[in-house]
Amino acid sequence: MKEIKENNPMSASPRVIDPSAVLLRRALSEFEVPLTRYAVSILGDIERSRDAVQDTFIKLYAQEPKSVEDKLKAWIFTVCRNRCYDILKKEKRMKRLEDDKVHALASTIDDPAQLMARAEDRAKLNSDLRKLLSMIDELPGRQREVMRLKFQADLSYKEIGEALGITTGNVGFIVHSTFKKLREAMS
């Protein structure tokens, strides 16, 4: 395995850089939080979500960087999503994301301090934002997933399509109709 000498002042000079490691670190710094949030939205609890995210990054490091770096975001979300569904299947708790099922996000928080902070944050929200939040929470499964990938994880239509296995046009239509619905409800 590769060895590293700590604080080696020589390492500034000709050095060999492992592109897999660079990619991994870049991905970690950019996607760890949105990916974990996304996993939580599917799995409903933080422990299993963390495992899914960890598996995703381990899998990323094993990839040939050149083969994934152009579509990193889509790759990561696709792999993580698949991993989440694998977990659900394995534990025989596969609940199809049916349109009438609602995720209770608040139940996924395990840290009391976070819970408090969240409650305070929520209290500060004006009524409009609160209304919006509950509307988002109550969206049908696919719409909820698409909206989260678009507005929280900031994936492009194309990337969302790749992750969910649907066409870009389909993504555009879902985002449009949901966005319009929310907008109208807000006014």
Partner: protein
């Protein structure tokens, strides 16, 4: 169809359309009466949705999980022991900042002779590991270096590639060098005439906008030595902080070594030469009255060229002489004003094959200087000259390589090479992080703009990663 019912409108608002499609929607919008209100409402709604999502806790893995992932994936894969006596950029500043008597210097040097031998051996081990790993890399899908047309608008002329024995060099110094008893006195040959005696009041400094610059017209300020060995500590520290979403204290970041931690695509020397000097001059992005001089030195891939054991270039010293007719003031970015490397006592350093050394100078050009007709024949038409002294590993000769950069109007920074823009971006970023009394009027947006179009080949992803860091730092600073 009502435009509000068109999925393309939403795609337009979310920046998902290509140029042509966006133009069609724009046109449709301009035909609609209340399009402004519609757009405003949509944008408001978009940011509210994002805000709502942002309220969720920032879930992440446990630190054990993260460490588990990172454990086997060190970015740098060089093996070998570090020599004790390797001077880093900042160490060099520290130890040579204070005045030393000649006896002290010789004493220090005597003590370090055995170390010199041991660190040469250590460096040899490292060098061989580097070569082995380089071969390993080829199998890892690395592209070979593609030579690029130089973008350098300034002619760099090699004037003198062997000013070794004799050639104006103080004989005593040369003998000292042979015996390795102490740093050699820098042969004080002024290319641009004798400097004026130092004024006790100004101390050889000039002031512009409350910032001080060295005045090359004055004794002791004509030459500026820049370190050829730099440590990656600042870079590593910054990376560690960025990975956990925080920014380090600017005081702990050495801008000069941060700049040098990145790879640059400098030209390699012609065969038979040991160094190539790449130089560029452009307007300073954060101050229209100043210029930036970018010096990029590339050490030859010695071993490959000659098929022998790795040979290190020893007793290397790199310095730049400013033409006082052209330059009113200068400063080396990353150098503390009161801690200039003294030309006479500057440490001799070793460099490794293929290594690059980067120095960025902020320069205040002389008012009224004539830039119109540069002539390479006339010394006075030069802006600066770069001098590299070293011991030739072949025959132990002392050599000097002098390159001059002719005086021409600086190009706009937008037209500078990718390497220069990137180095300037790192410099601006480092200065912005703080820890420097008077930072430039750079902004994170400017720094981002500089780096964004300067990715180059970016073989190892370092530059893209740095761009992420700028964005991140900006966000974190905004929140504070």
């Amino acid at each position: 169809m009502n435009i509000e019912d068109d999925p393309k409108l939403t795609a337009y608002i979310l920046d998902e359309l290509d140029c042509d499609e966006a133009l069609v929607i724009k046109k449709k919008l301009s035909e609609s009466e209340d399009s402004n209100a519609l757009m405003r409402k949509a944008k408001e709604c978009e940011s509210m949705i994002r805000e709502a999502y942002d309220m969720e806790p920032a879930h992440r893995m446990t630190s054990q999980q993260r460490e588990g992932i990172l454990k086997d994936s060190e970015i740098v894969a060089v093996t070998g022991a570090a020599p004790d006596k390797m001077l880093s950029f900042s160490d060099g500043m520290k130890s040579f900042g204070k005045e030393q008597t000649e006896a002290e210097v010789i004493n220090v040097w005597r003590k370090s002779v055995p170390l010199l031998v041991s660190f040469s051996a250590a460096a040899l081990v490292i060098g061989m590991a580097v070569v082995l790993l380089k071969y390993a890399q080829i199998g890892h899908g690395f592209k070979s270096k593609i030579a690029q047309e130089p973008l350098d608008p300034f002619s760099v002329t090699v004037l003198d590639s062997n000013a070794g024995e004799g050639a104006g060099r103080d004989k005593l110094s040369w003998v000292q060098r042979q015996m390795e008893v102490g740093p050699v006195k820098f042969p004080v040959i002024y290319r641009y005439g004798q400097p004026k005696p130092l004024n006790e009041i100004s101390k050889g400094l000039v002031f512009l906008d409350g910032e001080s610059f060295r005045n090359p017209a004055m004794e002791g300020q004509r030459w500026s030595v820049f370190p050829s060995n730099v440590s990656s500590k600042s870079y590593d520290l910054l990376r560690e902080f960025m990975l956990v979403g925080d920014i380090p204290d600017g005081k702990n970041i050495h801008v000069g070594s941060l700049i040098n931690a990145f790879e640059y695509d400098y030209e390699y020397p012609n065969s038979g030469e040991n160094f190539a000097v790449n130089a560029e001059v452009a307007n300073c992005p954060w101050d229209s009255e100043r210029w930036l001089i970018h010096i990029g030195v590339r050490v030859a891939d010695i071993n490959k060229n000659k098929g022998k054991d790795i040979q290190l270039l020893r007793e290397v010293r790199m310095a730049i002489e400013f033409n006082p007719d052209r330059v009113a003031g200068y400063r080396l970015i990353g150098e503390d004003n009161d801690k200039k490397l003294n030309v006479n006592n500057s440490p001799d350093q070793i460099v490794l094959e293929g290594q690059t050394v980067t120095a960025l100078y902020e320069v205040v050009p002389m008012e009224g200087a004539d830039f119109s007709e540069p002539s390479t024949q006339n010394v006075n038409s030069e802006l600066v000259s770069v001098r590299i002294d070293y011991t030739d590993p072949e025959n132990e000769d002392s050599r000097s390589l002098i390159s001059s950069i002719s005086n021409k109007r600086a190009v706009a920074w937008e037209e500078a090479s990718e390497d220069m823009r990137f180095a300037a971006s790192v410099a601006g970023y480092g200065l912005l992080l703080g820890g420097h009394e008077k930072g430039p009027s750079a902004t994170y947006d400017l720094v981002l703009q500089l780096a964004k179009d300067a990715l180059g080949e970016d073989k190892n992803g370092q530059r893209s990663e740095f761009i992420d860091w700028i964005k991140k730092t900006k966000k974190i600073k905004q929140k504070r």
